[in-house]
Amino acid sequence: MTDVLLAPLSRSRAEGVAALHGAIARRRAMVLLAGSLGLVASLVLDVATGPAFLSPADVVRSLAGTAGERSVDAIVWSIRLPVAFVALVVGAALGLSGAIMQTILNNPLASSYTLGVSAGAGFGAALVIVIGVALPVPEAYAVPVMAFLFAGLACAGVYAIGQTRDASPEMLVLGGIALLFLFQALLSLLQFVASPEALQQIVFWLFGSLQKATWGKLAIIALVLVACVPCLMRDAWRLTALKLGDERARGLGVDVRRLRLRCFGLVSALTGVAVAFVGTIGFVGLVAPHVARMLVGEDQRSFLPASALFGALLLSLASIASKTVLPGAIVPIGIVTSLVGVPFFVWLTVSCRRAFW
């Protein structure tokens, strides 16, 4: 058989599979490299942006330890750098968790935001704020810990509902939507009974904010992120197989149920730790995987790192925007990501090659 279905030529036979595989790998590496360079530029701009004016050159000098001015170093190292880095790691965690969700549920609309995990975290945070649940942790960490726990609870709930019938991706998505509405309703109930002060705190938490970032919080988020990546990459080919559907993946030798369970655990950890410290941030987890998919496809060896990379880039750019759209004010990052994310997402979905979803 030499002219299968008379397809138009896209590669010459002589190049061979190895050469083609190498070319695809190089192109994807270039995309990741370009994204990384963009990330560095965005980081510098994010640190430079704020009430006290700093030029990108000031930032670079301070980062290199040659700023000379103590005030510049203080602004860069104590105030802005933790915030900028937290934007990166939270963006990466959300991008990665969105990518996992979209893969294991085989659904381009899946993300921890659209399937109730973030809503669960929000409810957990509000519970501490309104009722003051006593936890064996320092008071400053009570809200993040409860948010983290409820993100995990929401993940477990989605997974449990998904197992009730045929353990299909559709059941999991339905479970996620059911929990989204449940946690939103519970959150509304808490807001209804909250004191004005508590209500204000809840609303501010739900807006999402990077401004409370510290080096300590950054270390925790980064640690979880770094721990999750190798676990995910070990399953990269199995996750790629899952994109072909449950039955085909099983036929290829994948234990689909265990893979989903592992991935739900990772999504729970990544989303939980991300939203615990910065509040609910929408659209990054939804949009970043779509950008990654457009640029590198869904071979998860590239798709997962690219989703993390573009999640980090999107949130870093949103952080810059949050400090520049209203002069003299910092708009909560959750508002910016949603405001910018919606038109961007619509543009992506209408302009993307049909072959991708």
Partner: protein
């Protein structure tokens, strides 16, 4: 590899889809599984592949343990994935793939793409292919596993007649050359008669007939199992040739 199926029963909830089925297939042999829609053909293949729970026994060279190298091609060819043909076929070797793809894996994929004439599609995304092209890609994926047991569930349903012939020729050639044991679910009786060494006809989850094509495919079986009046003539090579005439009342 000798596959022996004994008293196989498959049940989905309260529905018994296969009940007390005995079959066997040997190396270098194509066993075509025929039957009306919903008769249990796909469930039989899934049970052999270990994808659905079953009662009874299935042995592979006398062992209950399934061999590692199984090539399975499900019926469904709809896949919503931004994967290239190359990546999709590579997945056939999933158990052997590392983050960095080895030369042996690429060489195996190269060989199977050549075999099926798919090289020119290697860089294309699945979503850019026609149904027939996707069917060939998934066949390539099943073959890329270098299987000893090959199971194909309606592998030619989306292909034009020329490609149907070519695909089954390739399957037959590989079955003989590599001593594969091949189970193939087909709807086309003439293709089954032409390419299979043995035919199993399943009706309502039970084995209606099993044997050489010439012994199984006859007018009585077509009337009883498929509810079809047909004329069956033996071709020069002794294989039956079916001309369906009309649907008969069952």
């Amino acid at each position: 590899m000798k596959v022996a199926i004994s008293q196989l029963a498959v049940r989905y909830g309260a529905t018994q889809v296969i009940d007390g089925l005995d079959l066997s297939a040997g190396p270098g042999e194509i066993l075509a599984v025929l039957g009306p829609n919903g008769s249990g053909k796909s469930s039989l293949v899934k049970a052999v592949a270990g994808l659905v729970p079953y009662a009874g026994s299935i042995t592979f060279d006398g062992e209950a343990r399934r061999p590692g190298r199984i090539g399975y091609m499900p019926q469904d060819i709809g896949a919503r994935a931004a994967l290239t043909v190359l990546e999709t076929v590579l997945l056939g070797r999933l158990g052997r793939l590392g983050l960095r793809v080895g030369e042996a894996d690429l060489a195996a994929v190269d060989a199977v793409l050549s075999e099926l004439g798919l090289h020119r599609l290697a860089a294309r995304y699945l979503g850019e292919l026609s149904g027939g092209q996707r069917q060939l890609v998934f066949l390539a994926q099943a073959l890329a596993a270098e299987p000893r047991l090959l199971m194909l569930d309606e592998p030619i349903s989306a292909l034009d007649v020329r490609h149907q012939l070519e695909v089954l020729e390739i399957v037959r050639r590989l079955t003989i050359a590599r001593r594969l044991t091949t189970l193939v679910v087909l709807h086309d009786l003439n293709m089954a008669a032409r390419f299979a060494d043995a035919v199993a006809v399943i009706c309502n989850g039970r084995l209606a007939r099993f044997g050489a094509p010439a012994d199984v495919i006859d007018e009585r079986m077509l009337a009883q199992v498929f509810g079809v009046e047909a004329s069956v003539a033996l071709a020069g090579d002794g294989r039956p040739n079916v001309t369906p005439l009309r649907a008969s009342r069952r």
